[in-house]
């Protein structure tokens, strides 16, 4: 049986095609679906093995990045989405998708009682759009999206956003998240040393250098960097210099992990 992944789009979503390509590269069937089709029940979320909210500027990032998209989903799809997540289906939010998952309150905690967001992605400290490659360190061995990335490995991916400064709500500590394996990626320097908020290694001023987090169960991941732009080695910023090619780049491993999880745990 083929693995089917739903890639959700909204007006202004613009990373859906390369995300679909990344999923096809790891053997999945990727279907790009307009949010309205999901809201109108023309398409059933549960007929897909996984869900991806790709990057872009949904609804022009008006009000706040991801806020309008989240409010559309909240108004008509929230219960289904929660059920889908709690069933263990993988959900991946990349950049704008991450922003939407935060605004929806699906991250950091899917199991919860109230609907308010518990984290935020504020405008970058530089107050500019930042398009650059960053180094990440993997901190989680429970997140299902990092099966192909070892703890303490330092994958490389580009970021491209103006609202990516991760802020954790009051009363929540990074340590706590960390302990539960929810801090999946932190920004680091090339040698793996902590970025310690230093620009541009931490490109947006995120608290605890957080670049990506998952929920308690490890099946919902949101991250600011774009793994779909780091699937092939020729996408690397120094491809012409390195001359040590493997075919794939680090982002590929996130998609590969997702599909392997589905193969082993869901199907």
């Amino acid at each position: 049986m083929v693995i089917r992944i739903l890639i959700l789009r909204a007006p202004g979503t613009n990373c859906d095609e390369e995300t679909a390509r990344a999923l096809r590269e790891v053997g999945a069937e990727a279907c790009i679906v307009h949010t309205n089709k999901l809201l109108s029940n023309e398409v059933d979320l549960f007929s897909y093995h996984g869900l991806v909210l790709p990057g872009g500027f949904s609804y022009g990032d008006r009000v706040r990045a991801g806020a309008i998209w989240a409010s559309k989903l909240k108004s008509r799809l929230m219960e289904k989405l929660m059920e889908y997540a709690l069933n263990g289906n993988p959900i991946l939010g990349i950049c704008n998708g991450f922003q939407a998952l935060i605004e929806l309150g699906v991250l950091p905690f899917t199991r919860r009682t109230d609907l308010n967001p518990k984290a935020a992605l504020a405008p970058n400290i530089s107050s500019k759009f930042e398009a650059r490659w960053v180094y990440l360190k993997c901190h989680s061995n429970t997140c299902i999206f990092t099966r192909y990335i070892d703890v303490n490995e330092v994958p490389r991916m580009p970021v491209a956003h103006s609202e990516g400064r991760f802020i954790l709500g009051e009363g929540l500590s990074g340590e706590e998240l960390s302990k539960r394996g929810q801090v999946v990626f932190k920004y680091v320097k090339a040698n793996g040393a902590p970025a310690n908020s230093e620009y541009p290694f931490n490109p947006n001023g995120s608290m605890f250098d957080i670049a990506g987090i998952c929920n308690e169960d490890g099946n919902v991941l949101g991250l600011m960097p774009h793994p779909e732009r780091a699937v092939y080695d020729w996408q690397l910023p120094d491809y012409t210099s390195v001359r040590r090619y493997s075919g794939h780049a680090d982002g590929w491993r996130i998609f590969k992990s997702m599909i392997e999880y589905i193969e082993e745990e869901i199907r």
Binding site: P11, G12, G56, H226, E228, Q235
Partner: protein
């Protein structure tokens, strides 16, 4: 003269039949038609023949269709010298188009005709390119002007059914340290303008989701009063989907934004007072950009294209509906009927306003009756608005109705053939001297100063605010690797199933036009090609975009003719056809005309992106070769400028030498000899070697005495001469002798001038063997990275 008709909407009859010459000019100016006496007389004659007076809507239609912007009257006009002798007749046809026709390349699929130029790519796909200017709007509203510049050029590419895959932005500003108190009233400071323009371009491109991969930025006093904003877009389309088969009977659809009063030319009946600043021909009101609306448009258009539901398409740009409908009707040698009241509007407007409004994010499409329902479904699913506003006809007439009342009835051919204009041109070369100043003792400082000049320093702070990797296909990026090295061109790999890449580069040498616009244009073409070839590009097509002063002044036009001549000469000489372009004239401010500026955009291909070459040094001990001859050519160079001189010896283009060097680079890349390559441009050899080193983790040792040169005997001049035709290459050590043989066989001037070193510094020895530069790369990198503070 204006007679309001008793109708439920606003319509005037304009009494032109009885108008005197004075009246004609008054009508032109009061209605903001911008037509001269000769043209107004032709209008009158037309209506005399018809035996009736025109409506205001008809006159506005003629005004728009006969505008400089739409008809390129200067470029198509007759140009004479002081003695009345013809120096050029229809420059667009006889210089630009003629070059392309004579080259007659089979891979040029469409040129100087449709919304964008189109060249062959793979068996199934073609590449479309268009570059536009958006200077006036950006001067009034830097953010909105630049953003809508990008939005507009994207629609040109959508207007040939192509999917946008890369954006280009080329910007010219006044110096950022220009004193506030020297600014004339109404002129905004370069800093303010630059902040807005850069933000506007980033905003539109990032939101729309096409990578901004290529560009250039130039600072000069000549741009203080006239900011220059070029916006370009590259797209890809499946060849069989390039559909232009509108038939009489097909519906005319307007898809996208609601129409409002945006961009309607400043003048109305009420405000007779215009042109107090007489050098500025039009002041379109601000346009508000909405990239998300255009993103939806793109989705809809590509779906309609893939299902082949449309029979024709064009963008709504300058002149709005009036121009788009008439031009589309002309393409089928037919006509059109329009029901103007059917269009979806944002506000109540009079018919003439609706007809010529330039509201953004709208497209015009021809749709056969049978496909209408399917098109409407797609449009609906993408949350777009759409109106069926008319139908194509088989006669040569455009008829517009408003509430069933006929308000326009004109011949298409009349609208497309304004009277030819005659203009005078005079070219008097300026008389500058070659400066004389003592050779500086410390070239370390000179190099650092040149590297940190705003014209040369890193553009990283700007480029990183543009998403240059969305779509995931940017194979060679504008910023290379960890240090953000300045690659000569960018490469996009648009197809998943092919290794072929589109190579995008630009050439821009406006400073040279201070001395000689002919060599300015020649140098711009040559630089654009060299940039392209340096990374592995070939089979190059080019685009010309002129930004000039008022062509009614003979000196401005004289310079323009010189530049256009060079376009023909060097397009032919390099066998590189023009496929598209645009001119923006009348760029004048209280500070005078804009610095005459020609942007050349070059679109090449690379058969396999894995063979692309970046500029960073790759490994120690590899030899460095300089191709080409270094001459005493520092006129208008960055080095002279920083010393306060202009000079006389503007770089020329020696076609034979240049072509040999280009061929040598392409062959060497294909045979795998080349590890790094960089073209020599502003700041010459000094800057080129510094940039190659600072982009890497290595250094270099260079010996100036080995530089093949002609008439240059000072270290600083060898280092900073801007002679064209030169490349600096890092060659794989084991291939050095093969490379030399290749260069010799091609008859190419070359010289091994040094090698890559591992000690992290740049060491240059002079003509007499003494060390003239010894600098740590970290210091070089800092100077370059911190030069452009804003």
């Amino acid at each position: 003269m204006y007679n309001k008709l008793p109708l439920p909407f606003e319509l005037y009859e304009v009494d032109i039949l009885k108008a005197s010459e004075e009246d004609l000019l008054k009508i032109s100016s009061e209605m903001g038609l911008n037509l001269n006496l000769n043209e107004m007389k032709a209008v009158k004659e037309f209506f005399v023949k018809r035996g009736r007076n025109p409506t205001d809507v008809e006159l506005q239609t003629i005004g728009q269709l006969w505008s400089e912007h739409c008809r390129h009257k200067v470029f198509k006009g007759l140009i004479v010298n002081d003695e009345g002798k013809i120096v050029a007749d229809n420059m667009l046809k006889n210089f630009i188009a003629r070059a392309t026709e004579e080259i007659n390349a089979p891979w040029v699929l469409s040129f100087l005709e449709d919304n964008a130029g189109i060249v062959d790519f793979t068996d199934e796909h073609a590449i479309a390119v268009k570059v536009e200017t958006h200077n006036h709007p950006s001067a009034i509203d830097p953010f909105g002007g630049a953003a809508t510049g990008i939005g507009g050029v994207i629609r040109d590419v959508l207007g040939v059914w192509a999917k946008p895959i890369a954006l280009i932005d080329v910007l010219c500003f006044g110096p950022l340290d220009y004193p506030y108190d020297k600014l004339p009233k109404g002129v905004k400071h370069p800093r303010y303008i630059m902040r807005g323009v850069v933000a506007g371009i980033g905003h539109y491109g990032n939101n729309f989701g096409t990578p901004t991969t290529t560009g250039a930025i130039c600072f000069d006093e000549g741009y203080v009063g006239n900011v220059v904003v070029y916006a370009g877009c590259v797209g890809i389309l499946p060849k069989p989907k390039y559909i232009r088969r509108v038939k009489p009977g097909d519906y005319i659809l307007v898809i996208g934004n609601k129409t409002g009063r945006d961009g309607i030319h400043g003048a109305t009946f009420a405000s007779a007072d215009l042109r107090e600043d007489s050098e500025v021909s039009s002041r379109p009101a601000v346009q508000i950009p909405d990239p998300i609306e255009e993103e939806k448009l793109k989705r809809a258009i590509l779906r309609i294209r893939d299902e082949e539901l449309g029979s024709g398409i064009t963008d709504l740009g300058g002149g709005g509906l009036a121009v788009a409908v008439v031009e589309m009707a002309d393409r089928i040698k037919g006509g059109a009927t329009v029901w103007l009241d059917k269009l979806h509007l944002r506000e109540k407007m009079s018919p003439w306003e609706i007809w010529i409004s330039e509201s953004q994010e709208r497209m015009l499409m021809g749709v056969p009756k049978d496909n209408l329902e399917k098109v409407l479904k797609i449009v609906n699913e993408e949350e777009l608005e759409c109106s069926v506003i008319g139908r194509f006809e088989d006669d040569n007439r455009v008829r517009v109705f408003f509430n069933d009342y006929l308000i326009v009835d004109l011949d298409v051919s009349f609208l497309l053939s304004p009277p030819k204009i005659v203009r005078k041109a005079r070219w008097i070369p300026p008389n500058y001297d070659e400066p004389s100043f003592p050779e500086p003792e410390n070239l370390n400082d000179e190099l650092l100063r040149v590297l940190s000049s705003p014209n040369i320093a890193s553009r990283e702070n700007i480029i990183r605010t543009y998403d240059h990797e969305v779509q995931g296909n940017t194979a060679l990026k504008p910023l290379h690797g960890e240090h953000g090295g300045p690659n000569d061109a960018s490469i996009v790999k648009p197809l998943d199933r092919s290794w072929k890449g589109v190579v995008i580069s630009v050439g821009l040498k406006p400073q040279y036009s201070k001395i000689d616009p002919y060599w300015m244009a020649a140098s711009s073409i040559e630089e654009a090609l060299r940039n392209n070839i340096a990374v592995g590009g070939r089979r190059i097509a080019i685009l010309d975009n002129f930004t000039w002063g008022n062509p009614e002044k003979p000196d401005r036009l004289g310079q323009l003719v010189e530049a256009v001549k060079a376009c023909y000469d060097f397009s032919k000489a390099f066998n590189t056809p023009f496929i598209s372009g645009k001119d923006s004239l009348y760029n004048e401010s209280p500070l005078g005309p804009v610095l005459p500026t020609l942007l050349i955009t070059a679109i090449g291909i690379i058969p396999d992106i894995r063979k692309a070459v970046s500029l960073d040094l790759k490994s120690p001990k590899n030899p460095l070769y300089l191709l080409g001859l270094t001459r005493l050519e520092l006129g208008a160079s960055e080095y002279y400028r920083l010393k306060g001189f202009i000079g006389k010896s503007v770089p020329k283009v020696y076609v034979n030498e240049s072509r040999k060097a280009m061929e040598c680079v392409t062959k060497a890349i294909d045979r795998g000899y080349v590890r790094a390559c960089h073209d020599l441009s502003e700041g010459g050899l000094g800057v080129a070697i510094a940039e190659m080193a600072l982009s890497s983790n290595y250094g270099a040792v260079v010996d100036l005495s080995r530089v093949r040169r002609e008439g240059v005997s000072r270290n600083d001049l060898v280092l900073f001469s801007e002679s064209n035709g030169r490349f600096l290459l890092e060659i794989e050590k084991k291939s050095a002798s093969e490379f030399e043989k290749l260069a010799r066989d091609l008859g190419c001037t070359y010289s091994k001038i040094g090698e890559v070193s591992s000690d992290g510094s740049l060491v240059v020895s002079g003509i007499n063997g003494e060390i003239v530069i010894d600098l740590p790369i970290s210091e070089i990198r800092r100077a370059w990275k911190e030069g452009l503070k804003w």
